[in-house]
Symmetry: C2
Subunit: 680 residues, 2 copies
């Protein structure tokens, strides 16, 4: 059931590179992502109404000029296509879209003016010599021209970059059951799909489709999250997320239902098979969950919210590198989240989420080495940083303003003043900005490094409580409240040394008097930190307990939150809604990252994984075979319980195991004897 998704036929949405010259649709850089993020954040639905995002949602520019100059040896022909209003000029002379145009020889400047009232303005230039793609500039009539944006996905003149081209696959239900006076279809797994009905007789209409991520939800015709009543066969059915569909009042045989599942085909590079069936299944369910939540953007959940949240996305970037290593979805998500200048409010209204956005630029660069992307996004990082610095208090601490959401986590926390976790994120942002500035400008004139050090010193002074060996949430209330969050951040973001980290482990993480993390969202950070501190056995145990319990539910994906103590219908409830819980939530996929990063031990050690290391802990696991991507490569690990073989398909890696370092040459297997767990 879970692996089925892998078998989906890839329809090859991306344009195959051929010997012929390719042309690509052009748009203003970043506007494609901004426009599609608008569509994404307006796609949420609940009980018959649409739920557009509740923040200022940017839109693309309405008019753009595209231009390029050529030195032509001879006359050449080209044609400009567009869904926009506008025209072409050749050396200033106006010409029409859609007509074959002739120019040259000599110096030729082509300008294309495109305006579109209701969607993304884009143009496509087809010609042997003059064709659209890299090298074209875009101008929005203010400031400097920019390199035009384009994507390998849009290379045919019949396309429209305002429309995302999803791949799709037809899925038949795995079962059809008469129940509660109707038919219950179980599609065997979560889908984002349109239901197609092959009614035996037209008289079957009207009928109502009741959807559910759980069987209970689908059968609850009154309270299920989505339902739709159809009056005629030709009535369009909306795309929704579900596993079950219940049609009340109908009997088996009256209808035939099929689902057309829509997805973005991002190939999975990683793999994990294990003699530990539970762990393998955890990995598979995580993969399924993560792929379902990886569409045009990383979204939080397929049923709810269907929105792009910066906090959820930050974790998805990490999982992505260990599952698909797809750079494009990272970039789309980063650009879509940020919108455009000026910064009008924090990303998703959340102060921490704005900072995650800055941090993500560095994370993306570290693994991909995409300097162009750093240069493109750096100005927006600067304006975001300026926006943040406008809300510093007299100590230089970041505080919320009216309308700001100081989030960190859905946990009880002393938020009576500047919050420690926010200051830590700010310090990481300063450090990040220092790196980005050097990369984008070659200089370090912004003084970010100094700001980071000064802030870290103040964090130490104001928030570290020596007698508790912990960072407190907040100093201004005098409550000295200790939660795990800031302490986890201190280790996760490398703000403290080994000794301090160990103290935090002992006095906070291993201290049951400090309230437990309750959300899988923050559990990601906690488990990450435990791994970092070498507590892999503990992490494995917790992972198997929590995700193993979710597996028992057999809904085919990882839930937004899971409490094994809840066994009745209340386990589907959240946010005061009886089916409010998302049963397919991206942040549940962290085992993929934890296994790849810490158990397989694969990590880049230079930008773009130019060099990388494999520091595995096979001794903690049952026999397995795994594949973990690095940039432009794949590392395969095999353990039979006695020996470990490691093989990378590219150079640059080293295997570190048992105190020995082995160079990994492309295609050459390295075999080592496994240690005993307790000796590592």
């Amino acid at each position: 059931m879970i692996t089925e998704l892998k078998e989906i036929k890839k329809k090859g949405a991306r344009c195959a590179r051929t010997e012929e010259k390719m042309a690509y649709w052009l748009w203003y850089p970043g506007d494609f992502e901004i426009y599609h993020a608008l569509l994404q954040n307006f796609s949420r639905e609940e009980r018959g109404f649409d739920w557009p995002a509740f923040w200022y949602q940017a839109d693309c520019r309405r008019n753009v000029r595209f231009s390029r100059e050529y030195e032509l040896e001879k006359e050449t022909e080209f044609t400009v296509y567009s869904h926009s209003q506008g025209y072409v000029t050749i050396n200033g002379r106006k010409r029409l879209f859609g007509e074959k145009l002739t120019c040259g020889p000599g110096r030729v400047r082509v300008e294309i003016f495109a305006g579109r009232l209701d969607a993304l303005p884009a143009v496509f230039v087809e010609g042997e010599r003059i064709c659209s793609g890299a090298g074209w500039e875009a101008w929005d009539f203010t400031g400097e021209t920019q390199e035009a944006g384009w994507s390998a996905r849009y290379c045919k003149k019949e396309q429209d970059p305002a429309v995302w081209e999803y791949e799709s696959v037809r899925v038949k239900p795995v079962s059809e059951t008469e129940k509660n006076g109707g038919i219950l279809y179980d599609f065997g797994r979560e889908l984002t799909a349109v239901v197609h009905l092959g009614a035996r007789e037209a008289s079957v209409f009207p009928l109502t489709l009741c959807y559910g991520e759980s069987e209970a939800e689908a059968l609850d015709t009154e309270y299920c999250y989505y339902s739709q009543t159809l009056h005629a066969p030709e009535e369009p059915v909306r795309k929704r997320a579900f596993r079950y569909v219940f049609v009340p009042g109908k009997r088996a045989g009256e209808l035939e239902a099929e689902a057309e599942h829509f997805y973005v085909d991002i190939p999975v590079k990683a793999d994990f098979k294990s003699k530990d069936r539970q762990l393998e299944q955890i990995w598979q369910v995580c993969e399924e969950t993560f792929r379902l939540c990886s569409g045009v953007f990383f979204i939080d959940g397929i049923k709810r919210d269907r929105w792009i949240w910066s906090g959820d996305a930050l974790q998805s970037y990490l999982v992505n590198f260990y599952l698909m290593f797809d750079e494009e979805i990272n970039k789309r998500t980063i650009l879509g989240l940020r919108g455009d200048d000026p910064v009008r409010q924090h990303i998703n209204t959340i102060v921490d989420y704005s900072m995650y956005w800055i941090i993500s630029l560095d994370w993306h660069y570290q693994r991909t080495g995409d300097l162009d992307f750093v240069r493109m996004t750096y100005p927006k990082a600067v304006s975001m940083m300026e926006f943040l610095e406008k809300q510093l208090d007299e100590n230089g601490f970041l505080v919320g303003r009216p309308g700001d959401w100081i989030f960190i986590d859905w946990a009880e926390m002393d938020k009576g003043g500047p919050l420690c976790a926010e200051q830590m994120l700010l310090a990481v942002c300063y450090r990040t900005m220092e790196k980005l500035e050097r990369l984008a400008t070659g200089e370090a004139a912004g003084g970010y490094a100094g700001k980071a050090e000064a802030l870290l010193e103040k964090i130490e002074r104001f928030y570290w409580l020596e007698e508790r060996q912990a960072y407190i949430d907040c100093f201004s209330t005098g409550k000295n409240s200790v939660t795990r969050h800031a302490n986890i951040f201190a280790v996760f973001f490398g703000l403290v040394g080994r000794e301090r980290a160990e103290a935090i482990y002992t006095h906070v993480l291993a201290n049951d008097r400090v309230p437990q993390i309750t959300t899988p969202y923050f559990k990601f950070y906690e488990l990450e930190v435990l791994c970092r501190l070498g507590r892999l056995a503990e992490v494995l145990e917790r992972m198997k307990a929590y995700w193993g319990a979710i597996l028992q539910e057999d809904t085919g994906a990882v839930w937004e939150e899971y409490d094994p103590a809840q066994t009745g219908p209340e386990r589907y409830a959240m946010y005061g809604d009886r089916y409010g819980k998302s049963l397919c939530h991206a942040w549940g996929a962290s085992p993929i990252y934890l296994l790849g990063r810490y158990f397989m031990g694969v990590a880049g050690t230079a930008v773009a994984d130019e060099t990388f290391e494999v520091c595995p802990h096979p001794e903690l696991l049952e026999p397995f075979c795994a594949a973990v991507p690095v940039k432009n490569g794949l590392v395969r690990l095999n353990s039979d319980g006695k020996t470990l073989t490691v093989c990378a398909d590219r150079d640059g890696g080293v295997l570190r195991y048992g105190g020995v370092e082995y160079v990994l040459q492309a295609g050459r297997e390295v075999r080592v004897e496994m240690q005993r767990p307790e000796s590592v």
Copy 2:
């Protein structure tokens, strides 16, 4: 022919106020105008291609929350309608659009969330107690909530504020002639219309419509500005501006053509009839021209550019007060021109046009007393002023930046450094801001008055050339070039006293060695200043000469520019295009303003014309009867060549004539003996 337009049946697009409670569509304040300005500035067409404006064109917000609180004595029902995605909450509880909702008694907070991807988000609330209109707030999820925007034009749930509802009238051609192997239709006047064809036989297709503001243009099938080939009767014909339509290759009787003229019904309040038939006709052609160019916004010309230009609009505001006194079109134009914050570039890319925009706020307030509008626009005036002040040089003079257009006029002028005319506008802006600040905030903390005085002192020092008794264009080049423009501004904007103004008249305006003003655009300012200086006889002579010559062309409207020396087809050419000249251009309507303001002498003397004066010069004119609007009133003047009668339909006015002041009581005629021209 010309007066025909007045007979057009008014369809009553505005909602009639009835005893019942009215509801109005709501939007984010200013967004209606921004969205329709986008549509307007994307509506230009030329020879088969669309020509979206070449500046950054703002769009409306994509999602808005509307809200209002009620204290309900009893239960009440209401329904929310919208073309947007979204939902309603009643005290936090989510409800659907389009359904009858019940709430109360007690305190009830209604919130409506509306998101629309491709047009203006708007909502309509229908209910006895709870209904949309004044008192509702709008929030774009950043900053403060604002009073929601609404218009008396949108008061029915079947409407969509994203669609402007034009009035229309069917117009039959006044003649149909076989010519050049085709049929030429003359509609007798300029129209903005869709051509409807009643073909006798379907076999008449395909056929081509060639449009012309002049007969020559329509007959020039190759180079006419607009043409469209139709292949079938049902093919939609685009709305275009024309007077003539030529259908090549067809014969009379094969076709029947009718035009559906679309317009915005803004009642004309002024009138002018005279024994001087030429002057009366000038007035009528100006009225026709101005009405054609007064649509959703004041546009420059109906064929070209169909764009909203701040410089053209500034003059239109003045004409408007003397023709229609329609406050709504002023406000729409002011809001549509400005777009949204942040200021990304100058309005229409022109530095002077940004300053005209600031100035227009004061002008509008002076005549209307609309303090709400000042409060609404003041923040955008502040940000515009800040934008301007970012480009001051070391002397505090305004200079252009790359991409800025320092325009003033299409004239030879020394633009080698800071331009005198621009500094004068800046000084006027400072003065305007001082007034606006007091009105909007009750304070004068911005220091604008001081800035104005300091700048005026510097203008005097750097630009006034005592030996020429004139302001020079530019001081930094050492050329000491004198043109009329800055000198006209000095008088027009009241920056100099009477004595200096007279010196300017003698040494610049009456000095033939100073190059003549060549554009009707700037001629407006020149004639205005001549009037101000009491040179009415000269103005009358020039007016009759220039506009009288245009009348001879008998195209039914005032041209963008007119040179009587041109008699061949070259007179239709402009901007290097043989039919590039607009033959119906708003700025040609200035005689309406000049006659009303100076010859009839009607002017407000307090805010909102609370008091007004009538200082007429009937002795310069042949017998006439005229009506000139003031706020909430109309002043009628009648001259039989010997006596003048003046009557206002409201109180507040005084008639000043022959050195005597007469109080104008509502409805009471005042009759005075007319002076001899030379004695006035």
